[in-house]
C-alpha cells in the first residue's frame, strides 16, 4: 500500500487530482491511499504518508516542509505545473511512485 499525500493552499485543487490518481492506480493494479490537505495540515499529516507532493502554486512551501519530511523520512517534491493543469492523474502518480522508489 503506497500512501501519497498532496498539499495545496486549501486542499481544494489537489483534491481534483486525487480521484484521477486513484483511477490511474486502479488501472495499473497498484494499491494506494491518496489524500489532499490544506498547507497548514501537511506537516502533521506527513507522518502517515510515504511521499508528499506539493501543488506548484505553493512551491514556496517546499523549504518549510523539507526539514519535517527529512525527520519523518519521506521524499517530497513539487508537482509539475503542466501536469497539474491537465489534472493528469497518471503522470502525478508516476512522479509519486518514482519518489518513493528512490
Amino acid at each position: 500500500m503506497k500512501k501519497i499525500l498532496l498539499a495545496c493552499s486549501a486542499g481544494m485543487s489537489t483534491s481534483l487530482l486525487v480521484k484521477k490518481m486513484e483511477e490511474a492506480a486502479e488501472a495499473k493494479g497498484i494499491e494506494v491511499t491518496i489524500w489532499a490537505v490544506a498547507q497548514d495540515k501537511a506537516p502533521t499529516e506527513m507522518e502517515k504518508a510515504d511521499v508528499l507532493l506539493i501543488g506548484p502554486q505553493m512551491r514556496f512551501m517546499k523549504k518549510k516542509y523539507t526539514p519535517v519530511a527529512e525527520e519523518v523520512g519521506i521524499p517530497l517534491d513539487v508537482i509539475d505545473p503542466m501536469t497539474y493543469g491537465r489534472v493528469d492523474g497518471e503522470a502525478v502518480l508516476n512522479q509519486a511512485l518514482e519518489l518513493i522508489e528512490k
Binding site: S13, D40, F60, M61, K64, P81
Partner: protein, 427 residues
C-alpha cells in the same frame, strides 16, 4: 522574454517564501482560519434573518420577533469575530514554539480583555460588543502577538513553579503556567493604567485612532485595492498562490471594514464601506477563481476550436463553478504565458473599478458584512454578500461579460495557435 521572466520569478519566489513563512503572518492566517467556522455560522444567520420579502409575507411584527430570535447567532460569533481570531493567533503562535498552546490562546484573550474598555455609557462592568469586534481587531491582533511572545519568554526563562515528582501531569502543567501567565497579564494591566493617564484613555482607543482608522481608510480606497489586486495577479502569473501571500497582510483591514458594514447593516443604517473582505472574495475571486476565470471557461466553450481548449473547458468547468481554477491557470496555461498576461492583469483591475463605482454610487448595495465562503458559486455569492440583493448577482453577471470581452481577442489567438499545431501534427 524568458530571461526577464526568470529574473522576475527570482525576485517573487523569495518574497512569497518570506511572507508565507513569517511566523506572525502564518499565525495571523491560521488565527483567521480558527475563527472561520464561527464567522460563517454567524453569516448564515444574518442571511436567514434578512430573507427578502419575508417581512411582507408574515407581517412586520412577526418579522421583528423572528429577527430577534435569530440575532444572538450572529451577534455572538460574526460580530465578535475579533475574540476568535485572538484565541487562534495566541494558540497557533504558542504551538509553533512547541509550548502548551491552550495557554497561549487564553493568555491572549485575557490580555486583550484587560486592555478593553469595561464601561459602557457610564455603566461599569459592561464590555462594549464593538470593542470585541470591528474596533478591537487591530489591538487584538497586536495583543495576541505580544502576549504569546511574553508567555513564551517567561516560560523559557523557566520561572515556573516546580512540582515534586508524583504530582499528576495535568496538575503540574496548570501550575507551570501560573507564573508566565501572571507576569504577562501584569504587564498588560500596567499598560492599561499608563494609558488611562493619556488623552486616549484606553490603548484600544489609541490603536484604533492612530493605526486602525488610518490603515482601514487607506485600505478601503480604490488605489490600495487596485494595488492589492495587481499583486495577487502578478504572483499568480508566476504560478504562485497570490492570495495566500497578499491576504495575510490585507485580511485584518478587510475584515475590520467588513464588520463595520455588518454593524451598520444590522442596525439598519447606511453601510459605510465598499471595499471589504467580500468585495475581494465575492466580486473578484468568487467569479470562477482568481482572475475571474469562469468567464474564460465560458469563452472557451463558445469559441474554442482546438482539441486542447475544448478538453480544458470540459475539465475546468465543474471546479470553476466553485471557484477552484488551478486547471485553467496551469493548463491554458495562464502562468508565464505572454499572451495571457494582458487580460490576466487588466480584467481584474477593470472589474475592481466597475464594482467600486457601482457600489459607491448606490446602483448596487454595498457588501452587508456577511462572510460568504469563497467556494460559493457566482451569482448566488453576489446575492448573499450584498445582503440578499439581486443587484449583487446582476453585477457579477455584468462583470463576467466584461471579462469575456477583455479575454476574447487573446483567447482567440491562443486557440488558433493550438488549432494549427494540432492540424500540423495530425498531417
Amino acid at each position: 522574454m524568458n530571461k526577464f521572466m526568470e529574473f522576475l520569478e527570482n525576485i517573487l519566489l523569495p518574497i512569497a517564501d518570506k511572507l508565507n513563512n513569517n511566523r506572525y503572518l502564518t499565525a495571523l492566517r491560521d488565527g483567521f482560519m480558527v475563527a472561520l467556522p464561527f464567522i460563517i455560522f454567524g453569516s448564515i444567520f444574518v442571511v436567514l434573518a434578512n430573507l427578502p420579502f419575508l417581512d411582507r409575507l408574515i407581517g412586520e411584527e412577526a418579522f421583528a420577533t423572528y429577527q430577534n430570535a435569530l440575532a444572538p447567532a450572529s451577534e455572538s460569533t460574526l460580530s465578535l469575530m475579533g475574540l476568535f481570531v485572538i484565541v487562534g493567533i495566541g494558540y497557533k503562535l504558542t504551538q509553533r514554539y512547541g509550548l502548551e498552546a491552550i495557554y497561549g490562546g487564553t493568555v491572549a484573550i485575557a490580555s486583550f480583555l484587560i486592555l478593553t474598555p469595561q464601561v459602557l455609557e457610564g455603566v461599569a462592568g459592561a464590555i462594549p460588543a464593538v470593542s470585541l469586534g470591528a474596533e478591537g481587531m487591530f489591538l487584538g491582533i497586536v495583543t495576541a502577538f505580544v502576549s504569546a511572545e511574553l508567555y513564551r519568554f517567561f516560560t523559557q526563562k523557566n520561572w515556573t513553579i516546580k512540582m515534586p515528582a508524583g504530582v499528576p501531569d495535568q496538575v503540574s502543567k496548570s501550575f507551570s503556567a501560573l507564573i508566565p501567565v501572571a507576569l504577562t497579564l501584569s504587564i498588560f494591566l500596567v499598560l492599561r493604567i499608563v494609558f488611562s493617564f493619556t488623552p486616549f484613555d484606553t490603548i484600544q482607543n489609541f490603536i484604533y485612532t492612530l493605526i486602525q482608522e488610518p490603515l482601514t481608510a487607506l485600505g478601503s480606497g480604490l488605489p490600495a485595492t487596485i494595488i492589492a489586486v495587481l499583486l495577487i495577479q502578478v504572483f499568480w502569473f508566476f504560478g504562485l498562490h497570490g492570495q495566500i501571500i497578499i491576504n495575510s497582510v490585507f485580511d485584518p483591514i478587510w475584515y475590520a471594514l467588513n464588520n463595520e458594514n455588518l454593524q451598520a447593516f444590522q442596525a439598519g443604517q447606511e453601510i459605510p464601506n465598499v471595499v471589504t473582505k467580500q468585495f475581494i472574495d465575492t466580486f473578484l475571486v468568487g467569479m470562477g477563481g482568481t482572475g475571474m476565470t469562469l468567464a474564460v471557461i465560458i469563452l472557451i466553450l463558445i469559441i474554442g476550436r482546438s482539441r486542447q481548449m475544448k478538453e480544458l473547458g470540459k475539465l475546468g468547468a465543474p471546479a470553476s463553478i466553485f471557484n477552484v481554477n488551478e486547471p485553467i491557470i496551469f493548463g491554458l496555461p495562464i502562468v508565464m504565458n505572454p499572451l495571457s498576461l494582458i487580460p490576466w492583469i487588466l480584467a481584474p483591475v477593470v472589474v475592481t473599478i466597475i464594482t467600486y463605482f457601482a457600489m459607491s454610487t448606490g446602483i448596487v448595495p454595498k457588501p452587508a458584512g456577511i462572510i460568504v465562503p469563497w467556494t460559493t458559486p457566482p451569482l448566488l455569492s453576489g446575492f448573499l454578500a450584498t445582503g440578499n440583493a439581486w443587484q449583487g448577482a446582476v453585477l457579477q453577471a455584468f462583470n463576467l461579460v466584461v471579462v469575456m470581452i477583455i479575454w476574447w481577442p487573446f483567447l482567440k489567438i491562443i486557440d488558433k495557435s493550438y488549432y494549427e499545431n494540432e492540424k500540423k501534427s495530425s498531417n
